[in-house]
Amino acid sequence: MDLSIEVEEGTIFGLVGPNGSGKTTTLKLLLGLIYPTAGSGTVFDLPLGSPEYKRRIGFLPEGPYFYDHLNAVELLAFYGGLFGMSGAALQDRIEELLHMVGMWDRREIRVRNYSRGMLQRIGLAQALINDPDLVFLDEPTAGLDPPAQMEMRRLMVDLRRQGKTVFLCSHLLKDMEPICDSVAILARGVVRRQGRIRDLLGAESGRFRLRVAGGNGFSLDSLRDRSLDLKIEGEEITMLFANQQQALAAAQEIADNGGTILELGAQTRSLEDVFIEAVAAGGDE
């Protein structure tokens, strides 16, 4: 089975998919943690898993685990040492990263006493110790409280600003939508949809949504014929129109007949809508 994913340099890319879709397997393959049963893969024209390739990547695993008897400085020194870093250069890098992830003041605390948020922060720091070109982040916001989630998203955007490519793997679509430049939706090992997020979300651009309440003297059947969708919930009627003109005409008609316009605006889709649609389109294959 071929799996081809295009990721532009210097962007935040999201790999999303339901449980069992192959996200983790894909990530492990990309990281060289498992080997393909057939074929091969390359990133930066380097074979996956090769030491040269590993020198250019960073990885933050989901719910990261580290040697918990170490403190932040010792932990980063250990990971830096694996890259052959030492001396003042390593110490400077450690200090820079601990400031960046907001752990400098807590650098003496041993990992075993870390909160989930602190683990994610130090996890991100170790992923960046070698100043990588490509950073893989597996569920970086999972399990974090809202402020910590926001901070993690800010750090990811900072990485993009620094010119790094961020490869996000997550099922938390609401977290990914605001920061990802492009996504690939994976289901059963197959890429269902892939592209820039604004293209994927804008596929239905031009549609307008109208929500009204009350009024009489207008024809519901006529509105139903002119709209793409019409739903009645108690006093409220929600309609979807193919364009702005149709929506405005319907709103005018309802207002003229005593109805109240509750909402009128462009119909937007969320990444979640696109995701559900793409996964459903895959069926049971």
Binding site: G32, L33, K54, G58, Y65, H69, Q126
Partner: protein
């Protein structure tokens, strides 16, 4: 080399923080120290008692440390997923495995070295006293006519061979850790160690003169051929009897131990290469 060294140092530091290992070391030193006062239990064979308790403790507790440290070495890394952040750095699986092995080995040997020092302290005081008494009384266990330097030399060689023995056992435990859960790995390692102590017994069982059938001969010969012969690393009898152990014999046993360790680590490497992490 840098990666192997870093992983080994991290393994060494982590291992020394394990409380059960510290407890084993303290207990071992206490047992060795207790031989100071236990010599009255075997009048006339005090030297044998000192050597049996001292060297026996170093080997026994060294074995416990080698097995319980080695069997969790790889499985713990996989279970706790600490391995993921290491293998995604420029560290090959072979480097990781060797780093873990050397770190574990350094822990085992440093623990044994501390036990050895405790034994030397006891022996330096008690042992020399019984040698003088034994020589005067013609006691067999006191090795009359054997110089103190000779016996100290033999003890150093015996501890050295125990180091080699535990190097092999650490390799067995690490290999088992790449193949099984830690409980299975511990059972496997102890099984190999104790069967390896009786390798000659299996050779004798394979003898048709004992009425062993063809199938049995194959099985017993296979066990004898595959299992490391741990009994060759035990020098206690030689020390007690005052037998000279030459450097050629010692070198041969050290060489044999290193060959065992290398072959076992090759198997561990092959298993680890194909293991999903």
């Amino acid at each position: 080399m840098q990666a192997i060294y870093r992983v080994a140092v991290a393994t060494f530091h982590e291992a020394w923080r394990r409380r059960f290992l510290n407890a084993i070391l303290v207990f071992a030193v206490l047992i060795i120290g207790s031989s100071w006062t236990l010599t009255y239990l075997q009048p006339g064979a005090e030297l044998k008692l000192l050597i049996d308790i001292g060297l026996g403790s170093i080997r026994f507790f060294g074995m416990l440390i080698a097995v319980f440290l080695g069997v969790r070495l790889i499985s713990d890394e996989i279970e706790k997923r600490t391995i993921h952040t290491i293998l995604t750095k420029p560290v090959t699986r072979a480097q990781f495995l060797l780093g873990k092995f050397f770190g574990s080995l350094a822990t085992v040997l440093s623990n044994m070295a501390l036990m050895g020092i405790a034994f030397y302290v006891v022996f330096a005081y008690k042992g020399s006293k019984f040698m003088v008494q034994g020589a005067a009384q013609g006691s067999e266990s006191a090795s009359p006519g054997i110089s103190t330097d000779f016996i100290y030399g033999n003890i150093a060689k015996a501890i050295g061979l125990s180091f080699v023995e535990m190097t092999v056992l650490t390799a067995v435990s690490v290999m088992a850790s790449t193949l099984f859960s830690w409980i299975m790995a511990a059972i496997f390692s102890f099984f190999v160690y104790f069967v390896g102590q009786a390798a000659d017994f299996f050779k004798s069982l394979a003898n048709p003169a004992r009425g062993t059938g063809f199938g049995g001969q194959i099985v017993f010969n296979a066990i004898y051929g595959i299992i490391p012969h741990f009994e060759v690393f035990d020098m206690r009898e030689a020390i007690i009897k005052g037998t000279y152990v030459g450097w050629d014999t010692l070198g041969m046993h050290v060489g044999l131990g290193l060959v065992y360790a290398i072959l076992i680590m090759l198997v561990a490497f092959l298993a680890f290469m194909n293991r999903e992490v």
